[in-house]
Structure formats: C-alpha cells, structure tokens
C-alpha cells in the first residue's frame, strides 16, 4: 500500500480520530448541560430570595431523634443530626446484608435439597417473600409488633433482665468496665492470629497435603482470647439492668420495634432473591464436576466447599452485589415505619431549613457512597475468586 495515501486521509474520514472527537463533544455537551442547570437554578433561587448553601450544618437542629448510637440531643447541630441518620442507615444495612447473605445462602441451598419437604418449604418461602412488595411487608411487621406486644406496664418478662413490649426488646447489658476494652483488643488480636494461621495452613497443605481443622481452631481463638482477657482483668459481672420508670424503661439496651421491623422486612425480602441467585449459581456448575469430586472420595460437605461453591461463586457474586445494593437502597423506606434513617433525618432537615436542593443532593451522595463502597468490595471479591488462568 502507498503510505503517503494513508497519511493523507482527512481527520473527518478517519474513524479512530472521529471517535475521539465524538467523545469530546459528548462530554462537553454533558458539562454544558450541567453548567446550565446549576447556574440557572442558582440564579432563580437568588432571584426568588431563597437562601442556598450548606451553612445550616452548624446551626442548632432543635429536633429530637428516636434512636442514635452516638450522643445526640436537640441542642446539637444539623450536621450531627445527619451523622446520626447516616449511622442508623449504616447499621441497618450492615446487619441486614450480613443476615441476608447467610439466610439467602441457606435457603438457596435448601431449595436444592433432596429432602422433598425442605425443598418445597424453601420454594414456598421464596415465592411468598419475593412476590409481596417490600413496603407492605414493612407495614405488616411493624403493625405486628405494636399490635401484638403489650404496653410497657404489662411487658413480657420471660427471663430476668429481659423485657418485651410495644416499645421494643429491652435487655440488661454488662455495666461498663475496662475488662471489656481488653476483651475487645484480645478479639482483634485473635483476628490477626487467624489471618496468619490461614496462610500457614495453606502453605502446610500445599507442602504436605495434610489438612488442618482451621474453622474449629479459629472459633476457639476468637472466643478463648477475649474470655481469657476478661478473666485476667477481674471477671466483672455487674449488670446494667432495665427498670420501668414512668412511661418507659430506663437502663439496659432497647431494640426498637421500628428497627426490628425494618431489619426483618429487608432481610426476609432480600434473602428470597439471594436464595434464587445462590440456587442459580449452584445449578450452573455442571454435574460432571460434582461426580468427579465424589469419585475421588471427597465427602459431600467438601464437595460443596471445595468444588461446587468456588465455581458457583463466580456466577453468584455479580447478581448478589445488586441484591445487596437493593437492600441498602430499600432501607430508605424506613421513614414509612418511623425508623430515623438518613432519609428521615434529612427530610426533617429539609423541612426545617427549606434547603430542599442541598438536602436531596446530600441524600443522593450518601446513597451513592453506600452503593459504591458495597460495589467496590464485591468487585474486589469477585476478582479474587474469578478464574485465574495459569
């Protein structure tokens, strides 16, 4: 080919250069649109003398929040109120995700059980919970708690120090003592030990072929070390016991019906979807793999753990990620049943300050942060378990 002819192709006929040009043009278009919307909004807000900006963060919030894991009162700032809401969403999402993964995997595996009753029960569970809208399920669980349970004055008291009433589950916790700090440190030390133990075990197994009861030893370390630390630092047994004072219980820890209903609703709903994802993953592993594993004498548990699950996970992880993201996003339904999550607190803030655009932007940013970090973790995990070509 004549090279000078190739050089002479003008850029508007060169597909590779045109592609770059189109991309630049579309980015510029999006940027222009964003600039237009933002500047236009600001100009209009100013013309209507509506104040803008995040200055309200430092102002006193002057409203109370039902539950919080950090100290908060109406004398604190809007910023702190929003942090309380953020943490409340974080807690319900983290606990919800953990429980959902376990329950969903359990039901997904049970769905494939050779036991007819177990398989049908799991199938019935999945159909029931994934077919009813989540909002209705939340209303149901919430109404269930406040309608079924007695008032605080007639609270159920099945064991000493534990009360159940329509204000929630209230139970005694050990009174604070430095021993618990040491036990916590011991737990973290235990985790580090287990990390190195696992590496050592893997090396040993590759070298000698001998297996090691890693799980049992890990549990022993995780329980044993903190217990030892607690015993050594004096084994304090004083309890912070709840007691009925006036309208409500004082002392101990209260798990509110709003939190429980939200958690229960989210976990039961999402677990039904996760179960189907897990089932699909397991079924995607060809039967030959299982038969081959059995033919070399692996026990059924090991067949599942060593052969089927590692291959199934590759199919399971991407859709599982999106289900877990859904759980976090659905937690914004909390406001319907009175759990003070981020949307609820931000909603009150919007209403009191009138800064709707800033407030909704915050809500979007927070959910984006939650979702992106969940995705980032799951993508990292997905990469880790993906097929490694040797």
């Amino acid at each position: 080919m004549d090279t000078t002819a190739v050089k002479r192709i003008p850029f508007f006929r060169d597909p590779s250069k045109l592609a770059i040009l189109y991309q630049i043009l579309s980015i510029a278009g999006v940027a222009l649109l964003a600039y237009y919307l933002i500047s236009n909004t600001l100009a209009n807000l100013e013309r209507q003398s509506i104040s803008t900006g995040f200055g309200f963060f430092a102002k006193e919030s002057a409203f109370e929040i039902g539950e919080s894991i950090i100290d908060y009162s109406s004398a604190d700032s809007y910023g702190r109120a929003l942090v309380v809401g953020f943490l409340n969403t974080l807690i319900v999402s983290l606990i919800g995700i953990t429980l959902t993964v376990f329950l969903g995997s359990f039901i997904g595996i049970a769905r494939l059980s050779s036991n007819w009753l177990v398989a049908k029960l799991s199938a019935a569970y999945i159909e029931l919970f994934q077919d009813i809208p989540i909002l209705l399920q939340l209303f149901f669980w919430y109404a269930f708690f406040y309608e079924m349970l007695p008032s605080p004055r007639q609270a159920l008291n099945p064991i000493d120090g534990l009360f159940l009433c329509n204000r929630g589950l209230i139970f005694a916790i050990p009174a604070w003592h430095t021993a618990f700090l040491y036990a916590g440190i011991a737990f973290i030390v235990g985790l580090i030990i287990i990390f190195f133990l696992k590496r050592w075990v893997a090396k040993q197994q590759e070298a000698t072929g001998r297996s090691f009861p890693t799980v049992k030893v890990s549990i022993a370390i995780l329980l044993g070390l903190p217990l030892l630390a607690w015993l050594v630092s004096g084994a304090p047994t004083e309890m912070n016991t709840p007691a009925l004072k006036g309208f409500n219980f004082k002392g101990g820890i209260t798990i509110s019906p709003e939190f429980t209903a939200l958690l229960l609703g989210l976990v039961l709903y999402t677990a039904a979807f996760v179960a189907e994802v897990v089932r699909a993953g397991i079924q995607s592993v060809s039967k030959g793999q299982k038969e081959a594993a059995m033919s070399i004498g692996l026990k059924p548990g090991l067949v599942l753990n060593l052969v089927v699950l590692p291959q199934a996970l590759r199919v399971i992880i991407p859709p599982l990620t999106s289900q877990l993201l859904n759980l976090t996003k659905n937690s914004s339904l909390a406001v319907a049943i009175g759990y003070p999550d981020f949307v609820s607190v931000a909603g009150t803030t919007i209403n009191q300050t009138g800064q709707a655009i800033e407030g909704v932007a915050l809500i979007m940013i927070v959910y984006l942060i939650f979702s992106l970090s969940t995705s980032a973790y799951m993508n990292w995990y997905n990469k880790k378990i993906a097929i490694v070509e040797r």
Binding site: L37, N40, T41, A43, N44, L45, R47, Q48, S49, I50, S51, A62, F63, E64, I65, G66, S73, S74, A75, L135, F139, Y142, A143, Y146, E147, S151, N166, R167, K245, G246, F247, N248, K250, P257, E258, K329, N330, S332, L333, V335, A336, I337, G338, P340, V343, S344, G347, T348, I350, N351, Q352, G354, A356, I357, G359, V360, I363
Partner: protein, 339 residues
C-alpha cells in the same frame, strides 16, 4: 423509596424553575388558563380532603374557592394539588401552584429564606398533645420520658423538642410521615402521646376506634397561625389572596351571610354598599370585578359559615371558635376597612 419519589419531583421542579416561572402577572396567567391551581393538604379532615363523592371539602378548600369566586365569579374554578408538608413550598416556588392553602404556619424563616409571602391568617392554631385518658396524665409537664408520636415535615418536631428541653424532660420521638400510619401506631399504644396542631389532633381523635378514650391536654405549646402563601414578588396577587380571606372576616363583622346577601344589596349602610360593590371602587383597585366580594360571600359564605361548616361544633372535629372568633367576641379575627 416512597420518600424519594415524593421529594425528587419537587427538586426536579425546582431545577426547572426558569422554565415555568412568571415572576409577575400571576393574575393574568390565572385568567388565561381559566382556573386557579391551589396546593392543599388532601388528607386533613376539616381543612382539605375530598368527601365520599370526591368533592373537595374543608376550610382551606373554601379559602381557595373564595379566591376563585373573587377572580372568576365562580368558586368552582379551582384545581387542587394535594401536597405533603415537605413538597408544599417547593411546589409554590416552582410555579406548580398559584396559591398554597395548606394549613401552613407563617414563620419568619419561611417568609424570608423560602421566598414566600403570607396572606392573612385563616386559622389560628397551636400545637397540643393528644393522650389516652387511662394513663392518668393531666398536664404536659408530666410527660417526662414519654414516647411521642410526631408527624414530621412541620414545625411540630421543633416545638415539641423545645418544650421538653425547657421543662428539663426527656422524650423518645417516633416520626412517621403518613398521618394514617402514625395514628394507627398511636392508637395501638406505640406512643404515650401524640403531638401536632390542636386542630389536626381533633381530626385524629374523631377517627379513633373510641374517640371518648382520648383527650387533649390543656397545654398549647406553640403559636401556629395558618395562612395562605404566595410567591415573593407579585404584590397584586398577594393583595387578591389577602383580601379574599379578609372579605370572609369582614362579611362576618358586618353580618352579611350567603343567605341574606341579596337583601344586604339594598342596605343603607355605605360600608356594606362599598363592600358588595354597589358603590364601586374596591374591585377596580384590586384589578377585579366590582362584585368580587359579593361573589365570595354568595358562593362560599362568610368566615363563620365556613368555620362552622368545616370544623365547628356540628362537625366531628368540634373545634370551638376560640382565637378564631371575631375580635369583638374575644378572638383575633379582625379585618381592616374595605374602602
């Protein structure tokens, strides 16, 4: 998600402010489209709620009807947009509605930083506590440690927090956005008391399984002057909304009702003749027909009729006139002269 779907449209609307805003000339816009678009509560018995036949009823609805009667001579030329407490101001700012008659409390910050103007108050309210009688509580000062059901998106959350702080008491709020859901939780005993504007509590008590089991505590912990609101910057429109509300009050002061108004046309009192437009002037000043006030009273009634029809002693709400009586009957309702 429900929450988001409620907030997002209002923000989208706010983002599109430029497209729909006409800063001045709301009256011309309204005349051109042939009706006024009023933002109302939609779920508050006695103030704004469609009845079993789908006809809008309530004190706020009648306020909007009065404005329509003043402009078009036909009180039915209103379209209603039900709004939540959170979306109401954005809907007004963005031009989605022409006037907000949605039991909104007039406050300094709303008047200034939200870009609103409030017309004359159409209902003087205050925040109270609804409580079950068998708890044995007789005063709000005995509520230390109580669980309190609060309807969000109003000034109520702030008021109740302030009240407990001043009296050195603690509270545990339960905040549910939907009034019906919140009432259900309260009736089932989830909270010890419920707080909101007293008029709203009267409405909630009326739908309780056994209304006689509940009572309002004597304390009224806040001032809630509920007033129609319009956008900043259109003085003529503000005047029209303002004097439509005042016309209701002025008619009651002068003893003009929807029944006797045609006889009143033959009155010898120059005040009444000016008010009804027999002696012209008022209508022209407002940019309306001279019979604007006549149309309001003929079709909607005076303030006493509106009050008694929607929230008075003969209704399930059984609200006393109280602060809403005329100034010469111990209340706060007072109209400037119509001349």
């Amino acid at each position: 998600m429900k929450q988001l779907t409620r907030v997002v449209p209002s923000v989208v609307a706010a983002l599109c402010l430029s497209a729909s805003i006409a800063m001045a000339g709301t009256l011309d816009d309204v005349k051109a489209k042939g009706f006024i678009q009023a933002g109302v509560n939609g779920d508050l018995f006695g103030f704004a709620k469609p009845d079993s036949k789908g006809v809008w009823k309530g004190l706020d609805v009648d306020t909007a009807r009065a404005i329509a009667a003043a402009i078009f001579g036909d009180a039915d030329k209103v379209k209603y947009t039900p709004l939540t407490a959170k979306t109401r101001f954005t809907a007004l700012q963005s031009g989605e509605i022409d006037v907000l008659t949605r039991n909104a409390t007039q406050t300094l910050s709303r008047d200034t930083s939200l870009g609103l103007n409030f017309a004359h108050v159409n209902f003087y309210d205050g925040q109270g506590f609804l409580i079950k009688k068998d708890l044995g509580v007789t005063s709000a000062t005995q509520l230390d440690g109580a669980s309190v059901c609060v309807l969000p998106g109003t000034t109520t959350e702030q008021n109740v927090a302030d009240y407990f702080r001043v009296h050195k008491m603690t509270m545990n709020p339960v905040v549910i956005e939907n009034t019906a859901e919140l009432s259900k939780a309260f009736f089932a005993g989830r909270c010890d008391c419920m707080t909101s504007d007293a008029s709203q509590l009267a409405g909630i008590r009326a739908v309780a399984p056994t209304p006689a089991d509940y009572m309002l505590l004597p304390e009224i912990i806040s001032k809630e002057p509920l007033a129609p609101a319009v956008r900043h910057g259109d003085d003529q429109w503000l005047d029209i909304v303002n004097y439509s509300v005042l016309a209701l009050i002025a008619a009651e002061e002068m003893g003009i009702t929807s029944e006797n108004i045609d006889e009143m046309l033959k009155s010898t009192d120059p005040k009444i003749l000016r008010f009804l437009g027999v002696s012209p002037g008022n209508g022209e000043s407002l940019g309306l027909d001279e019979k604007w006030a006549y149309n309001i009273i003929k079709q909607v009634g005076n303030y006493a009729e509106v009050f008694e029809r929607n929230v008075g002693a003969q209704t399930p709400l059984k609200i006393e006139r109280g602060l809403n009586a005329l100034w010469n009957n111990g209340g706060l309702m007072y109209s400037p002269p119509f001349k």
